[in-house]
């Protein structure tokens, strides 16, 4: 079978079926104009700062949140969390990566209303290090935390371009596939630490 044929036939079928029910226009290309813009949900930050809100929401999904106020404090915290553990590197062979204990990455953004860290893989080679080891430590600058999901999506997009691989992470890996019993750390990390650096 020829893929070109399939494409043409599916398109024909879409147009023919739409034509039987809807005033199907073939000239207007600017459909976005007729489309309502997404509604912004009310901002949830009445009393809490974005950092506090982030922490509260991350902890609600079993993530750990540590707030630091200096580079030294940041370094000490990372050292304490990784002491005696094999730290994953994006450059090591897969077999070694699979044996590592902890992955440390930066985070390119955070979403306060959900406690989410955003990893952009074009900035940092964070894709496997944040995923394969049983513990993931993400370092997030407080200045990069947005309040809402909508603001974050807008910041990630520049015209028609977004980074080739973006990942949103909200808490450790979880499943409830066996008798609806929550189990943490099924395929991704069992523990997620987000260290928020306020010294920026």
């Amino acid at each position: 079978m020829n893929t070109g044929d399939a494409r043409a036939e599916i398109m024909r079928s879409i147009r023919a079926h739409l034509a039987t029910s809807a005033p199907h226009d073939t000239t207007n290309t600017n459909h976005d104009a007729s489309l309502p813009l997404p509604v912004q949900s009310p901002s949830p930050t009445a009393e809490l700062s974005v950092v506090e809100l982030f922490k509260q929401n991350l902890e609600a999904v079993d993530g750990h949140c540590i707030i630091v106020n200096s580079e030294t404090e940041l370094e000490e915290t990372v050292k304490r969390l990784t002491e005696g553990k094999k730290i994953a590197s994006p450059d090591e062979p897969r077999s070694d990566l699979f044996k590592s204990d902890v992955g440390v990455t930066g985070a390119q953004a955070g979403i306060a209303e959900t406690g989410t860290v955003v990893l952009d893989s074009s900035v940092d080679r964070n894709r496997l290090v944040s995923l394969v080891p049983p513990v993931h430590i993400a370092i997030l600058d407080a200045s990069r935390i947005y309040t809402t999901l909508g603001e974050t999506l807008a910041a990630l997009q520049s015209g028609d371009e977004v980074s080739p691989a973006i990942t949103f992470i909200t808490g450790p890996s979880r499943t409830a596939d066996i008798e609806l019993t929550l189990a943490i750390g099924v395929h991704g990390p069992q523990e997620l630490y987000v260290i928020i650096n306020q010294n920026t």
Binding site: V39, S41, P164, T167
Partner: protein, 460 residues
């Protein structure tokens, strides 16, 4: 595979009703999911507004699906993805099998995808000699048990942990346990080995973003991230209806989908994949293939009522809310998509004759419509399909018309009504009305010896 058929829905349902363990599991699951959904929806003050907005966005896409598809394909291919078109399941399976064979693939890892269930992809790949492993925990369990999913988002909802433990003991040689954490970690370590050696990763798609050519996949476990990050080749299978015009539209849909499905404010992971990697040193697959599947979807565009079916985002909320699903579970439907949405999609996908009982498997109570995050009027769709099915029956709706005419004639003439009741009272000892389907499960009450009007006339 021991799969039930939707043609025997009545018998399947009866068998399910006799299964106490299944009904207990269903009661727990649907009650919990329902409660979490209600709480999550209530946490947003503009929930209703979001639902209307989501529907408006979907309607816009569907009304101009041809143009949006063309733009999506251009944008995805410009950024390095290769798009393939499949008219039906056989064509999709042929394309995916060819891609895998051409790459010398032996080991295929899959993440949960209802669309690949719909086309029965695993069987096709296995026929071509591939080892295919489902990596979502629930899907992995039912693959080991050689069963099919019984819920859109919780595929192994019908199994107890004891059954899972027995399965893992037989299939994986695990020491017997009924500790869920231990079962989970056994699955983790077994599947890690498969991920490490996989040549091809196959996923579904939750949303395709037209303006950026991005595919978005939502999950909790991390197996989708592994499937789409480790193997050299990533194949994503998506129905042609999965598009959203703008990246910003995700603000609406990423709020609705997890809240409606599991009651979470956001699922643990969202992967936004836009084409292939830009630099050789970047991580991730070398190749991204997107399979666009029609398989009966374009036909649904023909009527405003059926077109709604394509707005579905597969959250599973209507299953949990449905009093029929709550009692019989997913397998009884005998179809890939169960519950209210399955009852409307299945007849349209596989043909009305093969699933003629499904649109009748509803009391039209409207609970599904109330919870649907994209406001699909499922009862309206059920009625639409019922009328199509009745039209196709031998004699069409002649019998039904006659019965209702007779009913109307009696009910609008009080004298005639009274005489009919008297006649009924006299003859009910010998003549049973032809309502076996009703009396099988219930008693038909005999007509009272004296009606109210008769009593009134006698005693006033």
């Amino acid at each position: 595979m021991n799969q039930l058929s939707s043609e025997t829905f009545g018998e399947n349902a009866k068998a399910a009703l006799g299964d106490a363990q299944l009904r207990g599991a269903l009661r727990n699951a649907t009650t919990l999911f329902g409660k979490k959904r209600r709480e999550a929806a209530a946490s947003l003050s503009n929930w209703e507004e979001l639902r209307s907005q989501a529907r408006a966005i979907k309607d816009e896409v569907l009304l101009h699906l041809d143009r949006y598809l063309e733009t999506f394909v251009t944008n995805a291919e410009t950024r390095g993805a290769k798009v393939h078109w499949a008219r039906d399941a056989a064509e999709a399976n042929a394309i995916i099998t060819r891609l895998a064979v051409e790459r010398g693939a032996r080991n295929v890892v899959k993440s949960k995808s209802m669309t690949t269930e719909e086309i029965h992809l695993n069987a096709a790949l296995e026929r071509a000699g591939m080892q295919v492993v489902e990596t979502d925990l629930g899907e992995y369990i039912i693959q080991l048990a050689d069963e099919t999913p019984s819920h859109i988002i919780a595929p192994a909802i019908h199994k107890t942990k004891r059954q899972v433990a027995e399965l893992f003991t037989t299939e994986l040689g695990m020491a017997p346990t009924d500790d869920v954490d231990q079962l989970t970690s056994t699955a983790r370590s077994t599947l890690r080995e498969r991920f490490a050696t996989a040549d091809v990763g196959i996923s579904g798609v939750n949303f395709g973003i037209v303006e950026t050519g991005t595919i978005v996949i939502v999950e909790n476990e991390g197996n989708i991230r592994l499937t789409t990050s480790l193997p050299r080749t990533h194949i994503a299978v998506m129905g042609i209806e999965k598009l959203l015009p703008r990246f910003a539209d995700l603000d609406v849909f990423l709020k609705l989908l997890p809240r409606s499905g599991t009651g979470q404010a956001l699922s643990t992971y969202q992967s936004f994949i836009t084409g292939t990697k830009r630099n050789a040193s970047d991580e991730g697959p070398e190749e991204l293939h997107v399979i666009l599947l029609d398989n009966g979807r374009s036909r649904m565009l023909a009527h405003p009522v059926t077109r709604q079916s394509l707005a579905c985002i597969r959250c599973g909320a209507c299953l949990n809310a449905c009093p029929v699903y709550q009692q019989i579970g997913g397998h009884a439907y005998g179809s890939v998509y169960p519950g209210p949405i399955g009852s409307v999609i299945t007849p349209q996908l596989i043909g009305i004759q093969k699933a003629a009982q499904l649109p009748f498997a509803s009391s039209l109570c409207g609970a599904c419509r109330e919870v649907c995050p994209v406001k699909i009027d499922i009862p309206q769709l059920l009625l639409h399909l019922r009328s199509e099915i009745t039209d196709k029956q031998p004699g069409g709706r002649g019998k039904e018309r006659l019965a209702f005419k007779l009913w109307a004639a009696i009910m609008t003439r009080p004298k005639l009504y009274e005489k009919t009741v008297i006649a009924g009272r006299l003859f009910q000892r010998w003549f049973k009305p032809p309502v076996k389907a009703w009396t099988n499960g219930r008693d038909l009450r005999p007509i009272e010896a004296e009606s109210f009007r008769e009593h009134w006339r006698r005693t006033r």
